[in-house]
């Protein structure tokens, strides 16, 4: 399934919208970059391969005034559903070009495998093998080895919402109970171990806000309380408690809203597992309210509603 079908669809969609957001090749073959297509001649630039990692749906709220076509993978499509739940987009002004996806690469993992050499070429072979060429030679990798963790438990390889589908739908072969295995595993650690773990991870944070700005559900963006004096939740100091607090703000604001696209973690230049806390929260939302973000447009995010009788919440005793 090459990008040809997708190009055809986009050619069609473009007649009807102001702009289509797709992927084109970035500064090397390992990097794709979003492209905003408003002229037919740009369509040739479009690519589709496992390097197309960005969640393009994130751009939709900022383009609310326009009619927009957007290319989404299964995971990214949940963003659109969540936007619908929260009323952040006008669905009638969005044309979704869905791509059934068998997994993307983690650029960090690939670079690690090739010692961070400059990339000269990347070829995806039919059997799932990846040939990466660097000045030091050619390395053969398998997609499964260099996929981000989210792909290994992906339940939605085919977009949950779309207007056009660029290939035949793919059924998930992953077990739903595995999605939060990492959360449960981490819960096996002692309190002290967990504390030390997070302190070490968050200590690397440089508060560049890439995680926040790349997050499709961080609606505040320029109005984020991490940078405001009124309210003054955190200072600009770069000590651990402030970094920790920033990540708590980020996570708690995403409670029951994170669609697990993993952008926060992918874009972190310091390699902090930023998505892990949100996964934990999602795990709890599922357990408490049987809620899964970004799946059903009719749902209401659990933090913005309630039940008079909460069946799963027990009163805490002292």
């Amino acid at each position: 399934m090459g990008p040809e079908k997708m190009k055809e669809i986009i050619t069609d969609v473009l007649k009807d919208v102001d702009v289509v957001i797709g992927y084109k090749q970035g500064f090397d073959k390992l990097h794709a970059t979003p492209c905003f297509i408003n002229k037919a001649e740009q369509i040739e630039e479009i690519i589709w391969s496992p390097v197309c990692v960005q969640n393009l749906a994130s751009f939709l709220p900022s383009l609310k005034a326009k009619k927009v076509g957007v290319v989404v993978k299964g995971c990214d499509s949940r963003t659109i559903v969540q936007y619908m739940q929260e009323g952040l987009i006008d669905r009638s002004k969005v044309v979704v070009v869905g791509i059934p996806c068998t997994g993307v690469v983690s650029v960090k993992k690939v670079l690690d495998k090739v010692n961070h050499q400059p990339i000269e070429d990347v070829v995806f072979e039919a059997d799932g093998a990846i040939l990466v060429k660097t000045p030091a030679g050619e390395t053969k990798l398998s997609l499964a080895d260099v996929s981000p963790d989210k792909c290994s438990t992906c339940l939605y390889p085919t977009p949950v919402v779309y207007d056009h589908l660029a290939a035949e739908p793919i059924k998930s072969v992953k077990a739903p109970e595995d999605v939060y295995k990492d959360v449960e595993e981490f819960e096996g650690k002692s309190l002290e171990e967990r504390k030390v773990y997070w302190e070490k991870e968050f200590d690397r944070c440089i508060r560049c806000y890439a995680c926040r700005n790349a997050c499709p559900m961080c609606v505040c963006q320029d109005s984020c309380i991490a940078e405001s004096r009124d309210p003054h939740w955190i200072s600009q100091k770069s000590n651990l408690s402030e970094k920790f607090m920033f990540h708590m703000i980020h996570s708690i604001h995403l409670a029951g809203r994170c669609v697990e696209c993993g952008e926060c973690e992918r874009v972190c230049p310091m390699g902090i597992p930023v998505n892990a806390l949100k996964k934990k929260l999602n795990h709890d939302m599922k357990a408490l309210y049987n809620y899964e973000p970004g799946v059903n447009p009719e749902d209401k995010p659990p933090m913005y509603t309630f039940s008079v009788e909460e069946k799963k919440i027990e009163e805490h005793k002292l």
């Binding site: 959360v183 981490f186 819960e187 309190l191 002290e192 171990e193 967990r194 504390k195 030390v196 773990y197 997070w198 302190e199 200590d203 690397r204 944070c205 440089i206 939740w233 100091k237 770069s238 000590n239 651990l240 408690s241 920790f244 607090m245 708590m248 703000i249 996570s251 708690i252 409670a255 029951g256 310091m270 806390l277 934990k280 929260l281 709890d284 939302m285 408490l288 659990p302 933090m303 309630f306 039940s307 008079v308 909460e310 919440i313 009163e315 805490h316 002292l318």
Partner: protein, 145 residues
């Protein structure tokens, strides 16, 4: 400050104005003895309590945080404590994931007439925090990058 200060731990309480703050008043009027560690912040409703206040307190030096509102269905603002319940439960479950003992945070419902229940809650929670000891906060561990 005074010598007794080190014996006390830092406990922050968020009490809704209509029920629990009144409950604490009732306990006071009834002269129900309580430990002195707790510092009370009056809020209109438990629904006003952003879970981030609790995180902020725990990260910045508090050893325990107590939130108390009206009993479910008895909220002065109808639904405020229903939202509070979801938010606070979310936090209650998240804290241990971060390595913070969830016992350092307690939320409950106490009405304006329940002075005795308030006394018991403060006493038990304070004892619980003392059992856990001070929370070694993460502040100024090392400032990296």
């Amino acid at each position: 400050m005074s010598e007794i200060a080190p014996k006390e731990l830092r406990i922050v309480g968020f009490l809704c104005n209509w029920c629990s703050y009144g409950g604490a008043d009732t306990a006071g009027v009834s002269r129900f003895r309580q430990p002195t560690d707790l510092r009370i912040i009056r809020v209109p409703c438990s629904g006003r309590v952003d879970p981030l206040f609790i995180v902020k307190a725990l990260l910045n030096g508090a050893d325990g945080v107590l939130v108390s509102g009206c009993h479910p269905r008895d909220c002065h603002y109808t639904d405020g404590n229903f939202y509070a319940r979801r938010r606070l439960e979310m936090l209650k479950q998240l804290l241990p994931y971060l390595g913070i003992d969830e016992k350092r945070f307690h939320y409950t419902w106490i009405s304006a007439s329940e002075g005795q229940r308030w006394q018991k809650t403060v006493t038990d929670f304070t004892n619980q925090i003392h059992k856990l000891g001070p929370l070694h906060s993460t502040t100024e561990a090392h400032s990296g990058s």
